[in-house]
């Protein structure tokens, strides 16, 4: 039986951040750890398609098992997760973490680096307002945000969104924006005062994308291939730091293992795992255990460890809406060779229609295949093809994330079958989208509220809440502010399972900073 000072379960954003805080202190990281395939995609998305040279474009963009056709026959999966080169992110999930869910479309990753392999790279500091309901404030996280900002290399600006995104310390210069973004920002500058009065603020995103060489990694080359390859070293993912810590011998890494449960006895925590391929049992012991297996899996491990098929734990998710907008001046514009396929701009709605600020990401559709959306146009097939060609350069998509708080209808539970049962009541949406359509009209971008898409619960991949942090935990499924599970001596929760609420703002950076904070507290308890 292998033993360690600290066992960390999971190598996603939280697990890697916790390991980074404790590197060199006897950390063993247990993980299933699927790896990305080597990508042959180089150069630029459009140059490649015009002249692929030796690149097997069908294999890379559609996939030899027709992976990119997924949404034709199956429930919707984001274009990024269905791309053949990104298949590894969700590989094995149905087998390793079966779900019982009628209304919640969960994505679970067992890849090395977790769901963050497919993230949009937006990293935002939480403000005290975002942390309402948490037993910690922004000041508790600030030192860890600073360390992570330096390690990751985050590009961004201190503009109108600074008041929502927190301190701009240590940011790299902002990325170049595409023609759509530049036009929108230019018009926003002219109408700023009126739009701010109406509650709309627009600015540059903060992205884990290098605008200059940093920490041995190159600057981003604006290849626009983000939807098809997950291994661009200019775009940070936790998998990079994981690889680095393993190579330097700062942590021990045991892949191919699915952790199922733990039990505490005396001064030890015993961790029970199975080999993800053969199913053979493997046991480990440690002084401290940090669970960071992803909010859903971490909650499942806690329930499983207590043989508890009765308790319902809170389930939080950012409801997602898409508002498609057209900038008519950009109809028929020539494609841009150099662009970033994810966020062009961010916007925040902070007005009377919603009690808390609602954050949006604005992006174009240039980085995906037109076939992903051309049949969404209410036009006959040949015309839809023409519309995709001429309208795509003019398309701006606003993606809204709604904040979430616990509700009795939204829960997870361990079913007697061993599956995780998820229940979630979809939120009513539409009023805010209709208001935003009107506000964006003032910026020369036109849309119709009836074309907005409201995705099914679970589509955000931002899950949280099963084992929430409380100032005074009341049950064995709540944690104290140090992340320690109430009733446990040495078991800590480091991922978003410990979030008592989910702000609208992308939670990845806060989850990482909080995981570092908890790991630092764990470090202080070690002999």
């Amino acid at each position: 039986m292998a033993s360690a000072n600290v066992i960390i379960v999971g190598s996603g954003a939280a697990g890697v951040a916790a390991a980074y805080a404790l590197r060199g202190r006897g950390v063993l990281l247990l993980d299933v750890g699927a790896r990305p395939p080597a990508s042959a995609l180089k150069n630029n998305f459009y140059e490649l398609r015009r002249d692929p040279g030796p690149v097997d474009l069908f294999g890379e963009l559609i996939g030899n098992s027709f992976e990119s056709l997924h949404n034709i026959f199956h429930p919707y999966l984001s274009p990024k997760l269905k791309a053949p080169g990104m298949k590894f992110v969700l590989e094995g999930a149905e087998r390793l973490a079966p779900l019982e869910s009628r209304s919640f479309e969960a994505a679970i990753s067992f890849a090395a680096g977790g769901l963050a392999n497919a993230w949009g790279a937006g990293l935002y500091r939480a403000t005290d307002k975002d942390l309402k309901g948490f037993p910690i404030g922004a000041r508790d996280l600030d030192p860890y945000y600073d360390v992570l900002t330096e390690k990751i290399g985050i590009s961004g600006d201190d503009d109108d969104l600074g008041r929502y995104f927190g301190a701009a310390r240590g940011l790299l210069p902002a990325m170049k924006i595409d023609a759509n973004g530049a036009a929108l920002l230019g018009r926003y500058d002219k109408r700023r005062r009126a739009l701010n009065r109406a509650g709309l603020y627009i600015g540059r995103p903060r992205l884990a994308v290098l605008t200059r060489a940093h920490d041995g990694r190159p600057a981003y080359g604006y290849e626009g291939l983000e939807f098809f390859r997950g291994d661009n070293p200019a775009i940070y993912t936790p998998a990079l730091t994981l690889k680095e810590m393993i190579a330097r011998g700062e942590i021990a890494y045991a892949p191919g293992l699915l952790v199922e449960r733990y039990n505490e006895s005396g001064d030890e925590v015993r961790v029970l795992a199975r080999e993800s391929a053969g199913g053979a049992r493997r046991d480990f012991t440690a002084r401290r255990l940090i669970l960071a297996a992803g909010a859903l899996n971490t909650a499942k491990i806690a329930l499983n460890s207590n043989d508890d098929c009765d308790t319902r734990l809170p389930l939080l998710d950012n409801a997602v809406s898409y508002i498609p907008l057209i900038d008519p001046r950009r109809i028929g514009a020539a494609f841009e060779k150099e662009f970033f396929a994810a966020a062009t701009l961010n916007a925040v709605y902070d007005g009377p229609l919603w009690p808390e600020p609602v954050q949006m990401t604005l992006y174009g559709a240039a980085g995906t295949l037109r076939s992903d959306f051309l049949f969404d146009f209410p036009l006959a097939a040949r015309d839809a093809l023409a519309a995709a060609k001429y309208l795509t350069p003019a398309l701006v998509i606003a993606q809204l994330f709604y904040p979430d708080a616990p509700a009795a209808t939204n829960y997870l539970r361990l079913a007697p079958s061993g599956k995780l049962e998820l229940a979630y009541e979809p939120k009513r949406r539409g009023a805010l989208e209709a208001r935003l359509v009107k506000l964006f009209r003032r910026l020369g971008c036109f849309g119709l509220a009836r074309f907005c898409k409201h995705l099914a619960p679970g589509s955000s991949f931002h899950y949280a809440g099963g084992l929430p942090m409380k100032s005074a935990p009341r049950t064995g499924y709540e944690t104290d502010r140090s992340g320690r599970l109430a009733g446990a001596r040495a078991v800590y929760i480091a991922d978003a399972a410990n979030f008592p609420a989910l702000p609208s703002k992308n939670h990845s950076f806060t989850m990482m900073a909080n995981a570092m904070r908890i790991a630092a507290e764990v470090g202080r308890t070690l002999p």
Partner: protein, 144 residues
């Protein structure tokens, strides 16, 4: 010196069932104005074979009739966006889009504002006409 590898690895040379080949040709002609190249037909057949509901979820007679397939697809899509016929159109689009020869069908390589506005206006008018025609044909053929 070895010859450079083909841009997209071509599917193995073999015969495509006649019904599938005809279907591929019809769809390809609607979208791109010509019959489908053989390699694309083979890939289309493979994609249908790999689909969970296979190739037989659609009444093959639909392709034998002389109705306006584009209008029928449009009418069916308005009722059910994932009907079997629309799925086939979507498959053809995906397969064509990653071939360099089709690049200009999907991407504006130079500024074409007037052409774009013209195409969109035409598309709007055709949508009204084909929507009505498709609804009539779908009713006549008993399609849902």
């Amino acid at each position: 010196m070895s010859a450079p590898q083909a841009a997209s690895r071509r599917p193995e040379e073999r015969d495509v069932p006649a019904a599938i080949a005809r279907e591929a040709d019809l769809i390809h002609r609607i979208l791109f104005g010509a019959d489908a190249p053989e390699a694309l037909k083979r890939r289309y057949a493979d994609a249908l074979k790999s689909a969970p509901d296979g190739a037989d979820a659609l009444d093959g007679a639909l392709f034998e009739r002389n109705g306006d397939l584009e209008a029928i697809e449009f009418a069916l899509r308005r009722k059910n966006p994932s009907n079997a016929l629309t799925r086939r159109f979507r498959i053809m689009c995906y397969l064509a889009e990653v071939e360099a020869e089709y690049f200009a069908h999907f991407v504006a390589e130079r500024n074409q504002f007037s052409a774009g506005v013209g195409a969109l206006l035409r598309a709007g008018m055709r949508a009204v006409y084909l929507g009505m025609k498709g609804a009539y044909l779908a009713r006549r053929y008993g399609l849902r």
